[in-house]
């Protein structure tokens, strides 16, 4: 395959497009809401109405507003339909012949869409993830071609470094620095690994990217492989994502058939092969050393770092590990340049980030915004605030490793440093909105139970500490705890945080610590009657009742 071949495919794809296109979301969220049947009916109705020449139906990826699925959008009018049923689908097709469309209209210019950015999700909901031609028609694989022909590996790394891209999996390590480290470490083989073990509950950014635009990740990985000198890549996908696995398999096969992966990529001496590894339900495998153990077919238990994977990774060889979203940013940076990317975001946090907005908020779904966007804009403008006139109390970010940000602090800008200052983290991108009905002690216990269940058991602080912390939180919730338990809770949080082996244990106390920081009164209100803190911290009515007994 040469550049001409690539452009040929793109031209053919563009020319074969009829004037109208109906895009139907077939990502997991809309599929759960029944979009497969909608897609079938759309195709059937087009046939029946003899509209094949004028209208094409495209099975696309995520269109972001998951709570209103199944979503269907029509090109070029941009008409958006939501909660589409198969019967509605027939009426949408009838609309092309002047019939009445019964499907519920959505507003593609509402704040939910208008305030979002489109960098990582540029193709999501527009191209067909199971047809490589549509990715190529959207300039796909051109960045890889130019890199292989016109850039040295050092130039590629320099470009990534200058872009200011930082790891999107949660740790925010500068990507360029990581690439440079792996590139300079000696090894007879090197590996590129894509971490798609998205385990944080309430976070599905990676899944959406893999289901909607898998080739973007493959292209990013191949560029990384060229930059660091690796010929083998692995994608470690969560076992709970069968659709992502299927689409990735399809995508890898298609790219190989066109000579965009495999041996002699773009007729250059560069070989790059990508294999899939499916996880089997272990949250700890999102940790890089545990993930590598799992790729090698072992129990997913972490090992102490150093040595870091960059030095001693898969089979002892230098290994580059990045998150799905990090790789998804790479083709764009190489295509538009580091300066373009560095122009988005804040001084230290460059680019955009995809968040999953869920919980007690009107619009739930996928949200992409430039880093440095105020949290209030995400929750209240894009998210539309609390449903049914409720009051939003806090937003939980960063999953079981993150914390809760109270509503008073919603003017905080969402970037790595600001969220860390508040005792939370941006993490991989989950944002769960909590309202008045959610008790924060219960929320803390929920995450502690999660960490307790998911602790791999290798180190004692995490294995035993999370159990004790869960027990203490339960005692507090049951009203059996006193001052002494609160002191113990804090001391134990500190111990588990500082002595656990890997990120799972080190971050397990975060939700508890952050709720203690901002919602201490909720803890104190639950303490045994009579304890001094409880008398001070209780709301007036309960305090009087408590004193009276």
């Amino acid at each position: 395959m040469e550049l001409m071949g690539l452009l040929d495919i793109a031209t053919k794809e563009q020319q074969s497009r009829p004037p109208h296109q109906i895009r139907c979301c077939t990502a997991a969220g809309c599929l759960s809401a029944g979009s497969a049947a909608v897609l079938d009916r759309l195709r059937g109705a087009i046939q029946d109405a003899g509209l094949n020449e004028r209208v094409r139906v495209a099975a696309v990826g995520c269109m972001r507003l998951c709570c209103q699925g199944p979503l269907v959008q029509v090109d070029p009018s941009d008409e958006l339909y939501q909660q589409v049923t198969p019967d509605h689908a027939v009426s949408i097709v009838a609309g092309f012949n002047g019939g009445k469309v019964t499907a519920q209209r959505g507003n593609p210019n509402s704040p939910f869409f208008a305030l979002q950015a489109s960098v990582i999700l540029q193709n999501s909901g527009r191209i067909e993830p199971e047809r490589i031609e549509t990715y190529i028609a959207a300039e796909g694989y051109q960045a890889l071609y130019h890199v292989l022909h016109n850039r040295t590996p050092a130039q590629v790394i320099d470009e990534i470094t200058r872009s200011g891209l930082r790891g999107r999996g949660g740790a925010a390590y500068p990507t360029g620095v990581k690439w440079a480290t792996v590139a300079k470490n000696p090894g007879e083989r090197k590996y590129v690994v894509c971490n798609a073990d998205e385990g944080d509950p309430g976070a599905f950014m990676n899944r959406s990217v893999l289901e909607s635009d898998p080739h973007r990740v493959l292209e990013g990985m191949a560029i990384a492989g060229y930059a660091i000198g690796a010929n083998q890549g692995y994608i470690y996908v969560r076992g709970e994502y069968p659709l992502a696995v299927e689409r990735l398999q399809t995508a890898i096969g298609q790219a190989r058939n066109l000579g965009l992966l495999g041996s002699k990529v773009f007729a250059t001496p560069f070989d790059f092969r990508i294999d899939l590894r499916t996880g089997a339900g272990a949250f700890v495998c999102g940790e890089e050393t545990a993930l590598m153990a799992s790729i090698m077919g072992q129990r997913g238990t972490p090992t102490p770092r150093p040595p870091y994977p960059a030095e001693h990774g898969l089979w002892g060889m230098p290994t580059l590990l990045n998150n799905v979203e990090t790789f998804a940013n790479v083709p764009g940076i190489l295509r538009h340049g580091a300066d373009w990317f560095a122009g988005i975001g804040t001084e230290k946090s460059k680019g955009t980030k995809v968040f999953c907005l869920t919980g007690k908020v009107v619009n739930t779904g996928l949200v992409e915004v430039p880093l440095g966007t105020p949290l209030r804009r995400i929750v209240e403008d894009i998210g539309g605030g609390a449903p049914g006139g409720g009051t939003i109390k806090a937003v939980q970010t960063g999953g079981p490793s993150g914390g809760c940000i109270p509503a008073e602090l919603f003017d905080t800008l969402v970037d790595y440093e600001s969220l860390a200052r508040l005792g939370s983290i941006m993490g991989s991108g989950g944002m769960i909105v909590l309202d008045q009905s959610n008790n924060m002690v219960d929320v803390a216990r929920f995450f502690m139970q999660f960490c307790m269940d998911e602790s791999c058991g290798k180190c004692i602080p995490c294995r035993a500490g999370t159990v004790q912390l869960y027990g203490l939180l339960t005692r507090i919730l049951e009203g059996k705890a006193g001052e002494e338990d609160m002191r113990q809770l804090e001391a134990l949080c500190d111990m588990v945080k500082h002595t656990s082996l890997c990120g799972l244990g080190q971050a397990a106390p975060n939700p508890t610590l952050s709720t203690l920081r901002y919602f201490r009164h909720e803890y104190e209100a639950l303490l045994k009657p009579g304890s001094p803190a409880q008398r001070m911290g209780l709301p007036l009515v309960t305090a009087i009742a408590g004193n009276g007994t």
Partner: protein
């Protein structure tokens, strides 16, 4: 655990070595291993395939995998028990999986779980004595936009309430209990 490993040791000579001839599933499993060139690092992929074919991973099957990949049975057993998606016991004819991820949790997943658990008289992770229904929980399936979510026999249902869910699983519960308790 001890009994199972002891069980495996006892059965080692008797059951691990020759799969029943004519069982096409073993041939398919062999095919998977061949595709991975019998590489030991493909163990998890092979176990996925085995569970898909056989429904669950019983000790003789684990032994078969161990022998084919030239791995110690302890290693295969260790891996099979480490990961949540692998099961060493048979599951019921029907399955009800309640998502207990954060988005579902804040929208009341606990009430869904309690409702089915009570109606079926079975703890999460267990199967009803008549083998009809297995109730399980999972940490986030990620269709969070339609939380709370339950997966009934592989089909995802969103916006569930205890009432709708109880109604949906009623037919799977054994005659004798009406499922509406």
């Amino acid at each position: 655990m001890t009994t199972l490993t002891a069980d495996m040791r006892r059965k080692k000579t008797a059951t691990a070595l020759t799969p029943p001839s004519g069982d096409a599933r073993f041939e398919q499993l062999e095919g998977t291993m061949k595709r991975h060139q019998y590489r030991q690092d493909a163990l998890i992929e092979v176990l996925h395939a085995a569970q898909k074919l056989f429904g669950f991973l019983e000790p003789p099957l684990l032994h078969f995998v161990a022998r084919q990949l030239k791995l110690p049975p302890s290693r295969v057993y260790g891996v099979a028990t480490f990961y949540h998606l692998f099961t060493l016991t048979p599951r019921g004819r029907h399955s009800c999986i309640i998502c207990t991820g954060t988005a579902c949790y804040v929208k009341g997943a606990n009430h869904l779980l309690a409702a089915v658990s009570q109606a079926a008289g079975v703890e999460p992770g267990k199967t009803t004595p008549d083998g009809e229904l297995t109730l399980r929980t999972v940490r986030c399936l990620e269709p969070c936009g339609i939380a709370p979510v339950a997966v009934l026999d592989g089909t995802v249902h969103g916006h569930e309430t205890p009432e709708t869910l109880r109604e949906q699983v009623k037919g799977w519960l054994s005659r004798g209990t009406d499922g509406s308790t």
